[in-house]
């Protein structure tokens, strides 16, 4: 992906101010991938502790989530996190904004759980020996010590997703961005992961197709075709979104959207 290579001029470095209340600001942001407009004119200011993102497949949810931790940079407009333009701080952003991928198999880099956790610690400056010890301690604090030596490939889907979340949490980010973290899980594992997430102090920004998981959130963004269709409290947005899904399903057209 050469999204960064388009002759972008990098402005003088801005610095993070982790104390600001409005942690993320989008100023007329658009994003084009391979010439296709994926996000179009998004303006936003986020200050809530729990933000949900809903929308159909292809509406741009994952792209919006990636803009939040510098995995993608806007084609036009500006994204600021903690006051800093992501274009100039993309390299340090993962320190403060953790990203949990939809598919745990796409996130795990290392073969065993303890190595995966320890990697996050070496990323923030631990040497290898202290990272190993601290990783085991961290797993113990999260009552997951039994996972330490397990090969990630042998875990259940729920355990894999838990490990991916812990591997990001160990880097002590202020914000956790999660892209459909429960989509590959069965009902029980999904409930457990949700409980775990709700117990966290971090600010959560979560993409989800499970609307019931978002009812306790502070704010919901509904994306449609790369734009924000609706933005408000769950009590307003979720029923409107659900009604729209019903309306589309009732149309029974197996063409265009929704396949």
């Amino acid at each position: 992906m050469a999204f960064w290579a388009k002759g972008r001029s990098v402005s003088a470095a801005a610095s993070f101010d982790l104390t600001v209340k409005t942690y993320a600001v989008f100023e007329a942001v658009s994003l084009a991938l391979d010439g296709k407009t994926v996000l179009d004119g998004i303006s936003l200011a986020l200050s809530e502790r729990r933000v949900g993102i809903v929308g159909l497949n292809g509406s741009g949810k994952s792209s919006l989530a990636r803009l939040l931790n510098g995995l993608r940079l806007p084609t036009n407009g500006k994204v600021r996190l903690f006051g800093a333009d992501t274009v100039s701080v993309a390299a340090q952003l993962p320190r403060h904004v953790g990203f949990v991928f939809q598919n745990p198999d796409h996130q795990a880099i290392f073969p065993t759980v303890e190595e995966e956790i320890a990697f996050g610690l070496t990323q923030i400056g631990h040497d290898r020996t202290s990272a190993r010890a601290e990783a085991v301690g961290f797993l113990r604090r999260h009552r997951c010590e039994f996972l330490a030596d397990k090969p990630i490939a042998t875990l259940s889907e729920g355990q894999k997703q838990l490990v991916c979340i812990l591997a990001v949490l160990v880097m002590q980010p202020c914000i956790l961005v999660l892209d459909e973290p429960m989509t590959s899980l069965d009902g029980l594992a999904a409930k457990r992961i949700l409980q775990k997430l709700q117990s966290l102090d971090q600010t959560l920004i979560m993409v989800s197709h499970d609307l019931s998981a978002l009812t306790g959130f502070d704010r919901i963004l509904w994306l449609e075709d790369g734009r924000i269709r609706m933005d408000g409290v769950p009590g307003d947005v979720l029923p409107a979104y659900a009604a729209d899904l019903d309306r589309r399903a009732a149309a029974e057209v197996w063409e265009g959207d929704g396949l």
Partner: protein, 222 residues
Amino acid sequence: MIGRQMTGSSWLHRLPAPVKLLLLVAGGAMIFPVTDRSLLLVCLAAVLSLYASLRVEGLRQLLYLRPLLWLLVFFLGLHGLAGTWETGLSAVLRLLVMVLAANLVSVTTRMDDMINAIRPVFAPLRWIGLSPQKPALAISLVIRFAPVLLFVYGSLSDAYRARTGRATNWRLIAPLALQAVRMSENVAEALSARGGSRGLARCGKDTPQTGRALRLSTNEKG
């Protein structure tokens, strides 16, 4: 590694990673010119007995290598078509011994130890101002994910058979290559999402970041 790291503390786990890698490289160099089939069979028996020394867990590792058999049969078939199946048999035996040995090292070595063991090889890069961390990480990732690709190959051929009723054939090369590219993109993204190969330690909260550094760290390709 077929997505299955062997955990435990066998003698092979305890052997330092640099020693294992050196033995692997030396063994590979020695076996490379060998064409004598009986000698190759002895080598095969030797490497298999190493697996056996790890007991049940070690032998189970061999099962994960089954998709490899089909690739070897495929190579042998090519040689058969070309009328050189005797050369082919030696080549396939040699490959099998080397892959088995490499797999054994990779499933009994922590990846961070592996990176550390490989890094000194690239230390001269420092002279021209580059970090040896990147190529060491890249090689470790190749070792880590190459067998996962074998596994992908296995599932692709299952999918092919399910719909055609026919055995695997060369048509799978294209989707396999595609999967490999996609996999490398996923790994690259996973790596940059957590700060890239350079880590975040040296960029404190307020460190200015140059355009060059930004490019390096957002262009992780394993």
